[in-house]
Structure formats: structure tokens, C-alpha cells
């Protein structure tokens, strides 16, 4: 049991927070995102002395990125994986012309170059057949390209660029980029928590440095990472989790400094109950007893001791209570969570609960609205629309996420009795009130 209780630790590869560095360049062993010409984002860990494969876009040498700034766009030069930064192209204005699609007929024969011919070009001249010359050849071989409108020409070139370009842009993992990456790639893993909804959770919960938050995260660590980023290692996070050890996989994509990782403590649900023993049958050895153990036993004992101590420390943090907020994105019914965790939350602090399904929140919503333990109870839904803003071609994106889930939020209050009245009178009054309302 001791081994299983061990928290899966995220290795800290840096001691400094990027924001405090003037030159926060790409470091070895960092997690980063690569924006690819296809519009996809690839997540990599930059292992030194390796080559990073980007599928059909080619391969590049990891060492060539180490020490470079984020945000620049690089082109893969050749098959040995050399890269060079390229200038990011400006958006081009498109002039309106008389052209229209009246003369264009759908035909497979419009493009004279075959797929095989293009592939041969790429194979025979890998160093020269860069995207531009390939795209130029393709345009030249397109019989009705000139008949297209300028808009449609631009779209055509853009589409070919996506296909043949060998460029990529390394991006820093941030709260935004990490959330966007998982939402695009594996939304189920993160409880379908969309980035705008996540941002709203952080604001509803007034997440900030030098505070203490209680977090129930069944989004594989997306929520707890976001809280950690906003706290910058100042303050304390207590994560309550499923199973014996936490599964906050998303934490490792953030390149958090040790200080930030150290601000996170975790406990399994069983340890929330004050009467639950931390570890069955755990006996601390005296120094003499310890010396009497074999090497193997010593290792096991030390590991187990570390775990027990960690959990004892985390329980002490939890039992101190007075948390500055309860933030939940969980598969469990909100009422079952509130029953157990509300007593640990200080007065006037926010309680914020996310779920992709409104139905899950309704019972808790109605309870909170009628309870005297909460004020400012509201349930909200976020709506987000992204636009393409190319000059002369501004419009909303054609497809978008249809739902970002629901947030139930409130402030915790106390039903303090009225000191101006003596107890019997208060009771009398409330009895009278009850009688009145039941009529």
C-alpha cells in the first residue's frame, strides 16, 4: 500500500519562473508545443541530442532549438534536420477583381500535376524543392487558377502551403495553450473544460497569490495547473483526488518551477475523514531498529516513511481549515462534495463548481439558493466565438464548440443568530414565520 500511496511526482526542470526572466528561452528537457503548418499543434519534450520527427513535415535537431526564444517560426532546411528562423509573413490585403466562378467547372483535370509527380519532386530534390517552388509549380499546372477570384486564389495557396510547408513554431505552454491543446485533442480527458470556462472559474473563485485553495480536480490536473499558474507558488493548494495517488498528468506540461510544484499538496478522498487512520500498521522504528534492517528493507522503510510523513503533513494542512475557496471540476455529485468539504472553507469565500452537464449541478443549485449558507448563487454558461480577421475577409469561424459547460458559483456565508433578540424570541419568531409560510 505504501508504494501505491506515493504521489506521481512531476520533475521540476527549472528553479526559476519564466516570468522573472528577461530572456526566457527554450531549455533542454522542457515540454513545448509546436504549431505546425497544418494548423495542428504537436506536444514534444525537447530531449537534447535527439531528432524530433514532425511526420510528413520532416525531422529537426532538438539541439538547434535549445537557447532560442519562443514564438519564432523555423523552417526545416534539409534531411539532416538543420533549421533556420524565417520571417513571419504579414497578412496580405486582397483586392477585389472582376473574376468570379462562372467560368470554373469542377473537374479533376484542372490540376495537371499528379500526386506521384509532386512526390518525385520532393524526393529527387529534397534540399531545393522547398514549399515555394513546389507551390509555384502546382499553380502553374492549374488550368483555371487565373480565372479564380483573388480570395479564392489566396485560399488555394494557403491550402497548398498547409500541405507542403516545412515550417513550425515552438510555443510556450501556458494556462491558455495547455487548455486549448487538450480541448482540441482529448476533451474527454479534461472533462470538456473549455478555456473560456476555465478562465471564468479562476475569476469566480478569485484565485490569486498568497491564498489557500481546496481543489477537486477530475480533469487530470488541468484545473489544478491553472490554479497553480495563477498563484505563482505563493500560497497553498490542496488537491483532493480519486484513488490512492493523484493523477494530475497535465501538471507536467507547464514547466513549473520547483517552488510552484511544492505549493501543491494532495490527499485521497479517504483522508478527508478525520477518523480514518493515515496508514494501517505503520510503526516508526528507532534508530537502532533501523540500523538492524537489511539494505533492501531500509530502502522500503525510508520510502514508506516519506509517504506517511507527506500524508500526515497534508492532513494537517487540510484540518487547519479556513480555505479561501473551494474549486471543483469533478465527476461526483456536487452535494456529496459540499457535504464533506464546505466545513473547511472560510466565510465569504467562493465556492465554484464546474460540470459539462447542467443536470449534474441543478440539485446543488437549488439547495444553495434556498440555504442560508450561501449568497450570490448563480449558474452560468459561457459562449465563445472566434473570428478570422484577414484584411477584407473578416468573419466568424465556420465551426465552433457548441458548449463550454456550466459553472455554479456562490459565496459561503454563516446563518449567524440575531444578538439583539434572546434565543427564545428568535425561536418564537422563526416558528411564527414557518407557520406563516406553510399556510
Amino acid at each position: 500500500m505504501s508504494a501505491a500511496l506515493e504521489t506521481a511526482t512531476v520533475p521540476a526542470i527549472t528553479t526559476e519562473d519564466d516570468i522573472s526572466e528577461d530572456f526566457p528561452h527554450i531549455k533542454a528537457d522542457q515540454c513545448l508545443f509546436l504549431q505546425l503548418p497544418s494548423g495542428n499543434v504537436k506536444q514534444i519534450t525537447l530531449k537534447p541530442d535527439t531528432k524530433i520527427p514532425l511526420g510528413k513535415f520532416g525531422t529537426f535537431k532538438a539541439n538547434a532549438l535549445i537557447g532560442q526564444p519562443f514564438g519564432l517560426t523555423y523552417q526545416i532546411l534539409n534531411n539532416s534536420g538543420d533549421i533556420k528562423p524565417v520571417r513571419n509573413t504579414a497578412l496580405e490585403d486582397i483586392e477585389s477583381t472582376e473574376a468570379n466562378n462562372r467560368e470554373i467547372f469542377d473537374s479533376k483535370d484542372a490540376q495537371k500535376l499528379t500526386h506521384e509527380e509532386i512526390e518525385r519532386m520532393k524526393r529527387e530534390f529534397p534540399d531545393e524543392a522547398d514549399e515555394e517552388s513546389i507551390i509555384k509549380k502546382i499553380i502553374e499546372s492549374h488550368s483555371s487558377f487565373e480565372k479564380k477570384t483573388e480570395w479564392s486564389k489566396a485560399k488555394y495557396v494557403q491550402r497548398k502551403k498547409k500541405k507542403f510547408s516545412k515550417e513550425f513554431t515552438p510555443m510556450r505552454p501556458t494556462l491558455y495553450s495547455v487548455a486549448e491543446y487538450f480541448f482540441e485533442r482529448n476533451p474527454e480527458k479534461i472533462g470538456f473544460l473549455r478555456v473560456d470556462t476555465l478562465a471564468q472559474i479562476l475569476n469566480f473563485a478569485n484565485v490569486h497569490a498568497e491564498a489557500r485553495y481546496l481543489v477537486v480536480d477530475d480533469t487530470q490536473g488541468l484545473l489544478i495547473s491553472a490554479v497553480a499558474e495563477r498563484m505563482g507558488g505563493y500560497g497553498q493548494i490542496m488537491g483532493i483526488h480519486d484513488g490512492l495517488s493523484s493523477n494530475y498528468d497535465v501538471l507536467r506540461y507547464h514547466n513549473f518551477s520547483k517552488r510552484i510544484l511544492d505549493s501543491i499538496s494532495t490527499l485521497p478522498w479517504t483522508m478527508v475523514d478525520k477518523d480514518e487512520p493515515t496508514s494501517d500498521g505503520w510503526v516508526e522504528f528507532t534508530e537502532e531498529e533501523f540500523e538492524g534492517l537489511t539494505d533492501r528493507e531500509k530502502i522500503n522503510y525510508t520510502r514508506r516513511r516519506k509517504t506517511v510523513k507527506r500524508i500526515e503533513a497534508a492532513r494537517a494542512v487540510l484540518n487547519e481549515g479556513g480555505f479561501d475557496g473551494l474549486i471543483v471540476a469533478s465527476q461526483y455529485l456536487p452535494m456529496s462534495i459540499l457535504d464533506r468539504l464546505l466545513p473547511f472553507v472560510a466565510g465569504s469565500r467562493p465556492v465554484v463548481i464546474y460540470n459539462i452537464n447542467k443536470e449534474v449541478l441543478i440539485d446543488a443549485f437549488l439547495h444553495m439558493r434556498s440555504s442560508k449558507e450561501y449568497v450570490g448563487v448563480q449558474m452560468t454558461e459561457s459562449w465563445l466565438r472566434r473570428y478570422q480577421v484577414l484584411p477584407g475577409r473578416t468573419h466568424p469561424e465556420m465551426t465552433t464548440s457548441a458548449g463550454g459547460g456550466y459553472i455554479l458559483s456562490a459565496y459561503r456565508t454563516f446563518d449567524t443568530p440575531n444578538p439583539h433578540l434572546d434565543a427564545s424570541k428568535t425561536e418564537e419568531q422563526s416558528e411564527a414565520k414557518k407557520a406563516k409560510t406553510s399556510q
Binding site: 516570468i19 514564438g71 497578412l91 501556458t174 494556462l175 469566480f204 465569504s348 456565508t413 454563516f414
Partner: protein, 301 residues
């Protein structure tokens, strides 16, 4: 210290958010021997001092309010409006996109009524800094006083200045820029200089009209900002209503027996047609690239 750091108990001098009912909040500074009078009654401040935040406090007549700890979110709901203000949907999305966190250094223009300023200061504390610019002198003075009263003065430098004419006067300083101006494109060039030059930075402009967006995009493009994109973000309130489940059988019953049951079988829709904010502003975003991007020596071996 009250807006950036929680405390447990109400003390003299605190700004307290009085919760008087759903959507009714009022900011009150706690002063000994003073009495807060509102539509619910008269509440002696002396009853509040020493109470835990979140407590219910009573007037002499037995009506009550809750004492809430001030937060930037509550402040947005109760601040004195001197201008149009930003609300949570835009504030939270912009904060995430601009990657605000402890240590961020940011420009905001204009300060307006200080709704976003409070939120930014909270998010970038304790090590970040906000440079806020306001061209209306009286508004600048009022905001400055509020920041002081709310314990944010060391986090915010407020300058009275027309940034479109005179620029920000900052160079190599910030990670993020937010422009809520009638003509944000006039401030883009100066904003570019203000960015920390050796790292990426993010800019957001906030404009209600699409024509403003076009001009801003052109200016951002001209000044070599990349990843130019635009969003709209809205929040919809959700309510839960109890609705009687009526069937056509009820209708038939009603017609057949025009009796007392008719009344009880009528669906009582207790709700009104809800309104929501349908548009606040377009949020245009772009990325500032480290200088000499593209001319740095090729990273080949």
C-alpha cells in the same frame, strides 16, 4: 490590503461588501460608531467589527445583511460607474489570453472606472506591476484614490496621459498590453516599444465596432505583430424553473368539466423573457515577437 489578500475578520477601516439581497451589493468602509442606513434598516458598524467575514448582521428591527469580503469580482458589481466597464466574461478571457499571473507586467489604457484594473492587480500580485493610463484627469484622480483605499497602490502606477497623442513613455518593460480606447490603432506603435523586447508578449484591443477592429488589425499587421485573431465572449445566466407537466388530457378535462380543476391545470409560467448582454466588444489579440525575429543567426551546426 483588503482586495489582494483575504482576512478572516472584519476590522475598522476595511471596505466591506454588504450583501442586501440577490444582485444588491454596496461597498461600505467600516468606521467605528457609524451607522449604515439602507432600505432594509439601520446597521451599526460596531456590530460588524470582529465578526467573521460571511456573517449575517442585523438591524435593530431584525432585518439582516451579509458582510462579504471585497474581491475584484464583487467590486465590478458595485463600483461607481464613471464609464462603461468590463465584466467577468471579458475580464477572465483577456486575463487568460494575455497569460496574466504573479509577476506579469502590463499596460492598461484607459483606466476608466477601474473594474479591470482591480482584477489585473489581484492576478499579477505580489511581484507584478500594472501601468494604467487615463486621459480624463478627474477620472484618473478618482481611480488613483480608489487604488490607494483598496491597498493596490504599490501594484499600480496610474498616469494621466493621452496615450494616442503622447505614447506610453515606456520601453522594454511589459509582457502584456490592453487597449480600451476609441482609436486603439493610434497606440499600437508606442505599445510595441513598451514590450519586453527579448520575449514574446501579448496585446489585446477592446472595441465595440467591427470597423475599429479592421483598423486595429491593419496597424498590428503593419507593426509586425503575429497570430492576429479576434474573439467574442459572453456569459449566459441559467435558471431552474419548476414547470407543471400538463398533457392534452388536461385540456380535454378542462373542456368537458368546466370546474374547479380548470384553474389548477393551467400552466403557470412564472418566468419573464430573460435578457442578456448580447455584445460587449470584440477582443482582438496579437502576439509581439522578440526583436530581430527572422534575422537571428541560423541555428544550424
Amino acid at each position: 490590503m483588503s482586495f489582494r489578500k483575504y482576512k478572516r475578520y472584519v476590522e475598522e477601516g476595511d471596505v466591506v461588501a454588504i450583501h442586501m439581497g440577490r444582485d444588491t451589493l454596496k461597498a461600505v468602509t467600516v468606521v467605528k460608531d457609524e451607522i449604515q442606513s439602507n432600505k432594509l434598516g439601520s446597521f451599526p458598524h460596531n456590530d460588524w467589527i470582529g465578526r467573521e467575514y460571511g456573517s449575517k448582521v442585523y438591524s435593530k428591527k431584525g432585518s439582516f445583511v451579509y458582510l462579504l469580503h471585497p474581491t475584484p469580482e464583487l467590486w465590478t458589481l458595485m463600483l461607481p460607474h464613471r464609464t462603461q466597464i468590463l465584466y467577468l466574461a471579458d475580464i477572465s478571457f483577456i486575463s487568460a489570453y494575455l497569460e496574466l499571473k504573479p509577476g506579469s507586467r502590463m499596460i492598461e489604457s484607459g483606466t476608466g472606472s477601474g473594474s479591470f484594473s482591480h482584477s489585473i492587480a489581484r492576478t499579477i500580485a505580489p511581484t507584478g506591476h500594472l501601468f494604467s493610463f487615463e486621459y480624463h484627469e478627474e477620472r484618473a484622480n478618482l481611480a488613483r484614490q480608489e487604488f490607494k483605499d483598496h491597498g493596490l497602490e504599490d501594484l499600480i502606477t496610474l498616469t494621466h496621459r493621452d496615450v494616442c497623442k503622447d505614447g506610453f513613455g515606456l520601453s522594454d518593460t511589459v509582457n502584456a498590453v490592453f487597449l480600451d480606447l476609441p482609436a486603439p490603432w493610434e497606440a499600437v506603435e508606442s505599445a510595441k516599444k513598451a514590450f519586453k523586447q527579448h520575449r514574446t508578449g501579448k496585446i489585446c484591443t477592446f472595441s465595440p465596432c467591427i470597423e475599429q477592429v479592421s483598423k486595429t488589425v491593419a496597424a498590428l499587421n503593419e507593426h509586425k505583430f503575429v497570430d492576429i485573431t479576434m474573439f467574442e465572449c459572453l456569459i449566459r445566466n441559467q435558471e431552474v424553473y419548476s414547470v407543471k407537466k400538463l398533457t392534452v388530457d388536461h385540456a380535454i378535462q378542462n373542456i368537458r368539466y368546466m370546474d374547479a380543476r380548470r384553474k389548477e391545470n393551467k400552466a403557470k409560467a412564472k418566468r419573464s423573457i430573460d435578457e442578456m448582454k448580447g455584445h460587449t466588444s470584440y477582443l482582438t489579440f496579437a502576439t509581439f515577437l522578440p526583436v530581430e525575429a527572422g534575422t537571428a543567426p541560423a541555428a544550424t551546426e
